[in-house]
C-alpha cells in the first residue's frame, strides 16, 4: 500500500523515509566503527521485542485472573512477584500495578509526558498511544477519546485515567465477557485484546458461535 495520506506528525511513516533511513544508518555505522554498538546486538533487541514479549503476556495474566481466584488475588496484591515467576518482568515493567475494571469503574492508561507503557506485558506501545492527540486529550476528555475507539462508557460507570508519570506501569484487567463459561485458558486469552488491557476497548465477546 503506498503511503500517500499522512497528515499526523505521529505517524512514523510521515517523515521522509529516505532521509531518516540514511541518517539512522550512518549513525549506526559510525557507532559500530567506534566499537560502541554491535549490529547483532541491535538485531537481538528487535527480535526480543518482536517475538519474546507482546500482548500475549498480558492476555495470559488477564485470562488466568478470570479463571483462577487465587491468582487474581495475588496479581492484584503483589504483581511484581507473580510477574517475575511468570517471566513477564523486565525493562519498563519493573513496578506493575494491575487495575481491575468493574461495573462501577473503568480504567484507562496514558502517559502524558512521554509514552510510558508496560513493555514486558504488552510489548511496545501502538502509534496511537504515543500520539500527541492521545497524550493531550485522554486526561481531559476520556469519554470522547474512547468514543473514537468505538467504545462507549455508560454515564453511570466512572472513568479513572492513570497518567504514568513515574516508573509504575499499569495493566488493566478487563471484565470477563459474557458467554465464556467453560472456556479454556487459551480460548480466553485469545479474546483479550491489547487495547482492552490499556482500557481503550473491551475484550472480544464470543457472541453466537456457529454450530
Amino acid at each position: 500500500m503506498p503511503h500517500d495520506n499522512h497528515n499526523s506528525p505521529n505517524d512514523e511513516s510521515s517523515d521522509l523515509p529516505d532521509e531518516m533511513t540514511l541518517r539512522v544508518k550512518s549513525l549506526e555505522t559510525i557507532l559500530t566503527k567506534k566499537g560502541l554498538i554491535d549490529p547483532k546486538t541491535l538485531d537481538e533487541i528487535i527480535d526480543f521485542y518482536s517475538n519474546k514479549v507482546g500482548p500475549q503476556n498480558g492476555a495470559y495474566v488477564v485470562a488466568k485472573s478470570w479463571t483462577d481466584d487465587k491468582f487474581r488475588t495475588q496479581i492484584l496484591k503483589d504483581p511484581d512477584k507473580v510477574l517475575k515467576e511468570l517471566g513477564f518482568f523486565g525493562r519498563q515493567g519493573e513496578h506493575v500495578v494491575v487495575l481491575e475494571n468493574t461495573t462501577e469503574v473503568h480504567n484507562l492508561v496514558v502517559c502524558t509526558l512521554c509514552s510510558c507503557y508496560p513493555w514486558p506485558l504488552l510489548g511496545l506501545p501502538p502509534s496511537w498511544y504515543k500520539s500527541d492527540e492521545y497524550r493531550s486529550r485522554s486526561v481531559r476528555e476520556p469519554r470522547e477519546v474512547l468514543r473514537e475507539f468505538g467504545f462507549n462508557i455508560p454515564d453511570e460507570q466512572s472513568i479513572k485515567v492513570w497518567d504514568s508519570t513515574a516508573e509504575i506501569r499499569y495493566l488493566v484487567l478487563p471484565m470477563r465477557p459474557e458467554g465464556t463459561h467453560g472456556m479454556s485458558l487459551e480460548e480466553l486469552s485469545s479474546l483479550v485484546t491489547r487495547d482492552s488491557m490499556i482500557g481503550a476497548g473491551n475484550p472480544i465477546s464470543p457472541g453466537r458461535t456457529d454450530e
Binding site: 546486538t41 538485531d43 537481538e44 517471566g87 523486565g90 525493562r91 493531550s136 492513570w162 508519570t165 516508573e167
Partner: protein, 225 residues
C-alpha cells in the same frame, strides 16, 4: 508556560490517529529506521553515560517546532544525536572507557528481562499516608537545574487530591536527570477528581485522573501555599 512535551489537557482538536493493521509502520522490523533507532538507543544506554531520566530530558528539550513535527522515533533519534554530541561520545579519550561496557548480543535477553528497578531505600519515613488529602505545588520548578526535568505535569499543579497508593521511595528524576544523584524520594499515586482538574464544566462528577508523584511535588492540603 509548559514545555512542549507536557501534553496533558493541552488544547487539541485532532482525532486520535489510528493506523490500520495493514500499515507496517506500527510493527517492528529488523531493518526499518524506527526499529533501528529504538535498538541503538537502548544499546547506547548500557554504556551508562546517561540515564533514563536524562534521555527523557534531552527528548523534551528539543526545539518546540522540531518536537511537534517529528514522529515518536524521530524524537528519539534527534535526542540521541544531541546526547552523543553533548557527552562527547566520539572523543578519543572515551573509546577505551567504553570497551568493556558494550552490550553483547548474547546478553540482550538477560538484561531486558532484568530491567532496572527504580525503587530505593530511604531512611526518612514518608510524610503522607494512604487517604491523606494533599495539594500539588503551584508553579513547580526543578530545583537542581534551571529549566530542568520534572515529572509533575502543569495540568496537575496547584490541585487538591488524595493519596491512594504508596510505592516506597524511588529514584527522583528531577535530580537524576541532571546527574545530581538518585536522591530517592517517596512516591505516591494521587487521585484527583476530573472536576478539580478541569473545572465545573467537566460532565461526569465521579470521573478521576491519577498521577504518580514524588513527595517534593506535594504538600499537606491544609498547609498555606
Amino acid at each position: 508556560m509548559n514545555k512542549v512535551h507536557d501534553m496533558g489537557g493541552r488544547e487539541e482538536k485532532r482525532r486520535i490517529p489510528f493506523i490500520s493493521c495493514a500499515d507496517k509502520s506500527e510493527e517492528l522490523s529488523p531493518t526499518h529506521w524506527t526499529s533501528r533507532t529504538l535498538a541503538i538507543t537502548l544499546a547506547m544506554g548500557f554504556l551508562r553515560v546517561w540515564n533514563l531520566d536524562s534521555s527523557r530530558f534531552f527528548r523534551e528539550s528539543l526545539p518546540k517546532s522540531e518536537y511537534l513535527s517529528s514522529s515518536y522515533y524521530k524524537r528519539w533519534f534527534l535526542a540521541l544525536e544531541k546526547m552523543i554530541e553533548n557527552f562527547e561520545i566520539f572523543s578519543n579519550d572515551n573509546a577505551e572507557k567504553f570497551s568493556n561496557k558494550v552490550l553483547q548480543p548474547e546478553e540482550v535477553c538477560k538484561v531486558l528481562k532484568k530491567g532496572s528497578p527504580s525503587i530505593r531505600s530511604k531512611k526518612e519515613l514518608p510524610t503522607f499516608s494512604i487517604g491523606d488529602e494533599v495539594l500539588t505545588r503551584t508553579n513547580f520548578k526543578n530545583v537542581f537545574f534551571n529549566g530542568g526535568h520534572t515529572r509533575l505535569p502543569e495540568y496537575a499543579m496547584g490541585k487538591k487530591g488524595r493519596i491512594i497508593l504508596y510505592h516506597r521511595a524511588h529514584v527522583y528524576p528531577d535530580s537524576n536527570a541532571h546527574f545530581k544523584g538518585e536522591a530517592p524520594e517517596h512516591l505516591y499515586t494521587v487521585e484527583f477528581s476530573s472536576e478539580e482538574l478541569w473545572g465545573k464544566s467537566y460532565p461526569n462528577r465521579k470521573d478521576a485522573v491519577t498521577l504518580d508523584l514524588w513527595e517534593p511535588y506535594l504538600k499537606k492540603a491544609n498547609e498555606a501555599k
